[in-house]
Amino acid sequence: MSVLACPLPFTADEFIVLGHGSGGRLSARLMEDVFLPAFRNPALERGDDQGVFDAPAGRMAMSTDSYVVKPLFFPGGNIGELAVYGTVNDLAVGGATSKYLSVGFILEEGLPLDLLRRIVDSMSNAAQRCGVEIITGDTKVVEKSSGDQVFINTAGVGFIPNGVDYSAAHVRPGDKIVLSGSLGEHGITILTQREGLELGGELRSDAAPLHELCAAVSSAAPGLHAMRDLTRGGLSSALNEIAQRSQTGIVIDERAIPVREDVRGACELFGLDPLYVANEGKMIAFVPEAEAETAVAAMRANEYGAQARIIGQVTAKHPKMVTMRTLLGTERIVDMLAQDQLPRIC
């Protein structure tokens, strides 16, 4: 049976369609209905092709990152929060105070508009928490199956206070390495979500803004040499990068590195090493020995550094190599991974 009726134009109220990325009326409506209400600020409201802001004298820092996490929402966070925190954290570990972000969305045709709203709202909350404004952006829509729901890119600009200059190149033998907390929670949360594994329900991503934690270490340890947030590749990749850039060696102590029992269990199950598993709310600081305890105390006073501790030091021996004293008291290399960590076969 068919009903004769005048075909109504599809109003695209519920799903993203290709037209939302066309630059035409649907794009404008997406801006008016979704992005502007969430991100509202003077620079964005000017409606120009660029966000304009005043810059103080001195040095600025810039960073960018793209986010392709699946599932989009997971215990402890979502792709929108990650996209804000990730870029803010990258600036924060350089000693920069983040001020402005850009955001680029690549949306897959058919994405529920409601899902996009939830992501955008949580970006807005995350931005407020970090004291940053999203002052420019872009949206493209790709055909069904050409993407995976939502990809987000953010870039950020931050201002660096006078006299602050943190870099891997400044790391020196004798520096102590301070880690802000336990490893692997983000990576294992995502993996267990993907594999449909239940680990008791308490495991959450550690996704968190680290700007206050970094600022606390900065003011507590004026001799601070470098900081790094631990993301893809985990602690091991961050340490190896620093060892390479600074031409120093690094020694860490396995017993000093906190890993939650459930994360350790999941790692044993999948055949993964927590040193290589991704984090989204942890950082390390390289501090002269004399200031190390002060830095630990400053971190512990922050909610994201409550488990902070010294995990190792920089040495002139074996430049460019990271080693670890194992639980058994032996020493081994902590290597950069050749590729992704793979689950064992048997």
Binding site: G271, H318, L327, I333, L342, R344, I345, C346
Partner: protein
Amino acid sequence: MEVCGGQTHTLVRYGIDGLLPAGMEMIHGPGCPVCVTPLETIDKAIALAETKGVILASYGDMLRVPGSVTDLLHVKAKGGDVRMVYSPLDALKLAKENPAREVVFFGIGFETTAPPNAAAVWQAARQGINNFSLLASHVLVPPALRALLSDPGNRVQGLIAPGHVCSIVGLDEYHKIAREFHLPIVVGGFEPVDLLEAIAMLADQLEEGRAEVENQYSRSVRMDGNPLAQLMLADVLEVCDRKWRGLGEIPLSGLKVRAKYAAWDAEAKFGLVENSVEEPKECISALILQGRKKPPECSAFGVRCTPDRPLGAPMVSSEGACAAYYQYRRYEAGRELAGGVR
């Protein structure tokens, strides 16, 4: 000798071999499933991955092992449809979702991975999923052990049996081996304390002149193994002669798909032919897999052979002995290595 590559990694990673008293040496066995898969079989998988309409699925490790010319990851980069999966049942799901394509699961490994691969074939047959097939290159531990232990140059005086393999097949065969070769055997786990305990148990047996099978890994291994897995295995797979990389052809040392499941056997389905190929000359993986040499004794180790540019499978696989030494202890080779790290 520890049999399993996972045990080798724990030993090297925690430096347990270095803690042992003088006169006690660990020899690394042939138990890396990726490493013993012959080049010819990898070439077959590569040929399938390059075939139009085929989706080739396998474990991540397998994708990086070089065949005679290329590896599966490069085939994938050039447009071959190669998928990394965690389980053969994921490959079966792929077949259901892609009815117009042929999905081949490249299934390798010891008695541990054979039952799930058998289960995938069994399920495919039961559910009538006819676009799924298994390229099976399974190997059995006991025949390889017998070959190694019978060699005139054998130095093995005690054996840490592979815990996960025994959790499937049980301990029967190992009792026979202990008697045949008057060899102390301890079934061991994979954590550092497991291996320390297993080594201590072996030392006790040697000192007391016993040659028995003891079970250190009792939290996973039962005397009779896993009967359900054994039934599944026996229904779908049968024992055959098999070539091992590094060890050569060993009679009755492999598993292949039974004729009644030929419709799900990739070898039969695609009429694959085996081309004999040469191993890279400088690679001593044969000696490594037989426990005759340690990785740092290889002239290519860390110089012309690294995980980024491997000459042989033991440098690629996460269970390979060369990869273990490179990853955790390469400074012990005492030479200038690729990348400038001594």
